[in-house]
């Protein structure tokens, strides 16, 4: 490797953050606000809020294919084409299959967003706190390793990030899904309200609530200061929101970080590895390859945060080898890359409801309802471990007769009728982290920047199959109790990955023999390197994970800066 080591001084920072997605953006903001000279490395191009949202204001008729992608695109991209949001309006925010190949030991649809903001532009914006039962899960049920922290450790940091990000929700008072710092909730539709009532009537421990989501429903001064306003219910979030109505790094943390004057954002910077200094016994910097020129440069810092997105964080650490760490940085126990888990999104149940014929809804709601986990919450009750949460939504269909020719046809298609109310639900199952679900570096294949390709070996197990069956049975039962008709269940058998909730590989734990990170998200064996993205997750629970990454990140930065100031780092 031809390394440019000129100007070590000007390449030296207090902190380096690898990645600018949902957690990297938070690290940048926190370091910047605390006055640390910070370098944020992003492997993709810059995406500036508003400036780089090319489709955001396009009307449906302005899309050449009215949203659909040309066959040439879907054929070249069989993996990313499986993602629901990979369409004409947002395809430019997704990694194309051929640009960044990886090896599927077992089928794994790896969906990535390589640009400033990462997948925070594309996420589904559901934000639920973990509860004490979620953190206690592995210890109680004897899988993975015990979490080194509990709900009380994270609760103040949830509050901290929620206030800044702007989270809409209802205070439901549920111990299995703690309330947060909520902006007003979005409304439920008629049939959703009805279902909520029916479920409450029939089941003591099951709750249908409005989704808690990262949308500003009533801007607070902190949001106005970010230049963000109220969500306008366009429901076109994946294009980037010109109102900053939903939280993304691009609309929120990154511009905020840059405004401090302490943060430098460097796009097109592919991190090859972290540099470990044997004498000093610490990491001193990172090796970066320019994605365009392929020129290698080294950057140095006291603190390094790895927020490259779960699997890429694993890749960077695995590729950071030295004589002290021949198996990858901090990997004394050989567990780096192992115990990866995800969320099981395979199953869905739909149905219809006859009633409320004289009601409909107005506008779009970039949110849905949510059913928190009700299986095995307080104790083990089923023949499978853990449980699932469920998304739920109900709206009215449109019935459009498109028969006839000429005036008849015209009359028919221009006079659609409202159809029956329909409801739909999907499961979000906790999967159990196992050593056999792992990622590793391929020994032969490298990418265009000379970095080993990632080999992914992740699969479902019997526990997942039992959970799918139970979800389908329970949801069918709940629908039946509510008087829904035409109930249809389905199992997509989709490969892991498409949930875009891959987690673990650099798990937190109390014991350096069985985990990689301590309770501050610090590598046990290399204390100035922190991991606060999905890679740090010891278990997955059922919540959409991003809010927890944000809270971990803010908490870890706070700790790192205190340690640095106390000369401990």
């Amino acid at each position: 490797m031809n390394i440019n080591v000129d100007g070590k001084g000007q390449n030296t920072y207090d902190a380096i953050v690898i990645g600018s997605g949902i957690s990297g953006g938070w690290a940048a903001k926190e370091f910047g606000e605390k006055g640390l000279k910070t370098l944020v490395l992003e492997r993709g191009r810059d995406v500036k809020h508003n400036v780089d949202y090319p489709t955001t204001n396009l009307k449906p008729w302005e899309f050449e294919h009215k949203g659909q992608l040309p066959l040439s695109v879907t054929k070249e991209n069989p993996i990313v084409s499986k993602c629901y949001a990979f369409r004409e309006d947002a395809q430019h925010f997704f990694v194309k299959d051929n640009d960044h190949p990886y090896i599927q030991d077992k089928p794994f649809d790896w969906i990535r967003g390589y640009q400033v903001g990462g997948k925070s532009l594309l996420w589904a914006r559901q934000t639920q706190r973990w509860s004490t039962y979620d953190f206690e899960g592995p210890d109680r049920d004897g899988f993975a390793v015990p979490w080194p922290i509990g709900y009380d450790d994270l609760a103040p940091w949830y509050s901290y990030v929620e206030k800044f990000a702007g989270i809409s929700g209802n205070k439901d008072g549920l111990s299995e899904l703690p309330d947060g710092e909520f902006l007003p909730p979005m409304e439920m539709t008629k049939v959703e309200h009805y279902f909520k009532g029916k479920v409450a009537e029939k089941y003591k421990d099951r709750h249908v609530i409005i989704g808690r989501c990262a949308h500003i429903t009533e801007p607070q001064p902190i949001h106005t200061q970010q230049g963000r306003v109220k969500c306008q219910h366009r429901d076109l979030c994946q294009r980037g929101c010109p109102f900053g109505g939903y939280f993304s790094s691009n609309a929120s943390t990154i511009p905020w970080a840059l405004k401090t004057g302490n943060v430098t954002l460097r796009p097109h910077s592919v991190v090859h590895s972290i540099i470990y200094d044997e004498q000093k016994g610490r990491a001193t910097g990172v090796r970066v390859i320019d994605s365009e020129t392929k020129e290698a440069t080294e950057f140095f810092a006291t603190i390094i945060f790895v927020n490259a997105a779960a699997l890429n964080t694993n890749l960077i650490l695995l590729n950071s080898t030295s004589s002290r760490f021949p198996q990858g940085l901090g990997n004394d126990n050989g567990l780096l890359g192992k115990f990866v888990a995800f969320h099981n999104y395979r199953a869905r149940v739909s149905a219809e409801y006859e009633g409320f014929e004289n009601f409909t809804k107005y506008g779009n709601r970039p949110n849905s309802c949510y059913i928190p986990r009700f299986r095995n919450v307080h104790k083990q009750e089923t023949d499978f471990l853990r449980g699932y949460a469920a998304g739920f939504g109900g709206s009215r269909g449109v019935v459009r007769n498109s028969e006839g020719i000429g005036e008849d046809l015209k009359e028919n298609i221009l006079n659609p009728k409202l159809g029956k109310w329909y409801v739909g639900s999907h499961m979000m199952g906790e999967t159990i982290p196992k050593e056999s679900n792992y990622v590793a570096l391929d020994t032969d294949k490298k990418d265009a920047w000379g970095i080993p390709q990632l080999k992914i070996s992740i699969d479902y197990d019997d526990n997942d199959e039992k959970m799918v069956k139970d979800y389908l049975e329970q949801m069918t039962e709940m629908y039946t109790q509510a008087g829904f008709t035409n109930i249809k269940t389905s199992d997509s058998h989709q490969a892991p990955g498409l949930d875009i909730h891959e987690m673990g590989g650099v798990r937190m734990g109390k014991d350096p023999k069985t985990s990689l990170l301590n309770k501050w998200n610090q590598l046990h064996a290399c204390k100035n390197v922190f991991v606060t993205d999905g890679a740090c997750m010891t278990s997955t629970s059922t919540q959409n994970p991003s809010l927890t990454y944000m809270a971990f990140t803010a908490r870890a930065v706070d700790y790192a800066v205190k340690q640095m100031n106390a000369k401990e780092l």
């Binding site: 066959l71 539709t189 809804k361 020719i405």
Partner: protein
């Protein structure tokens, strides 16, 4: 175009007018007004297709399919979003339709009166029920024309009141007999 060139080279064109379908009788072959990447479709064919779209959804107090350029969307989608096999079936079915109307009326589609055109579309519709080459053209033609028409700026804004920025979401809106489409589908 290739076919026409071939016929010309074989010397069929000059004296062959009576033997050829009307669609090939036109003196000049126009260039299509839309750039296509995969399929070959000339301006005369485009003009026939536009007339077919218009016959399917004719002008009244609202614009018809031709005015809203639905034939361009039909061609764009066939060209970009359909498998090569489906593209060939579309073209073959279209050619068959042109021949059939010539055989039936001795005219090309555009020369026919609206009633004749619509009667012909009806024939095609019943003929395609038994699955044949024609359906490879007629089914996507019909589906894409309707999609283009309903998805056009004119219809979306003027008929359905498309509002990109609703500003709010109401979970329960009461409707009654007087509720218009904009309320129902807002």
């Amino acid at each position: 175009m290739q076919r026409r060139t071939a016929l010309k080279q074989l010397g069929f064109l000059a004296g062959g007018a009576l033997l050829l379908p009307s669609c090939l009788r036109r003196e000049t072959v126009k260039e299509a007004t839309i750039q296509l990447k995969n399929i070959v479709f000339n301006g005369n064919q485009e003009s026939t297709l536009a007339a077919m779209c218009e016959a399917l959804i004719p002008k009244s107090d609202l614009p018809g399919a031709r005015e809203l350029n639905t034939h361009h969307f039909v061609l764009r989608m066939i060209d970009d979003c359909y498998e090569p096999e489906a593209q060939q079936k579309f073209l073959a079915g279209f050619a068959q339709a042109e021949k059939a109307i010539d055989k039936k009326t001795g005219k090309n589609f555009e020369e026919c009166m609206l009633e004749e055109q619509q009667a012909f579309l009806k024939d095609m519709e019943s003929a395609t029920e038994g699955e044949n080459n024609l359906s490879g053209f007629y089914k996507p033609f019909r589906e894409l024309t309707i999609r283009a028409y309903l998805g056009s700026e004119y219809i979306m804004t003027n008929v359905f009141g498309y509002n990109m920025i609703p500003g709010t979401f109401k979970g329960a809106v009461e409707i009654n007999g007087a509720s218009d489409l904009k309320t129902l589908f807002g």
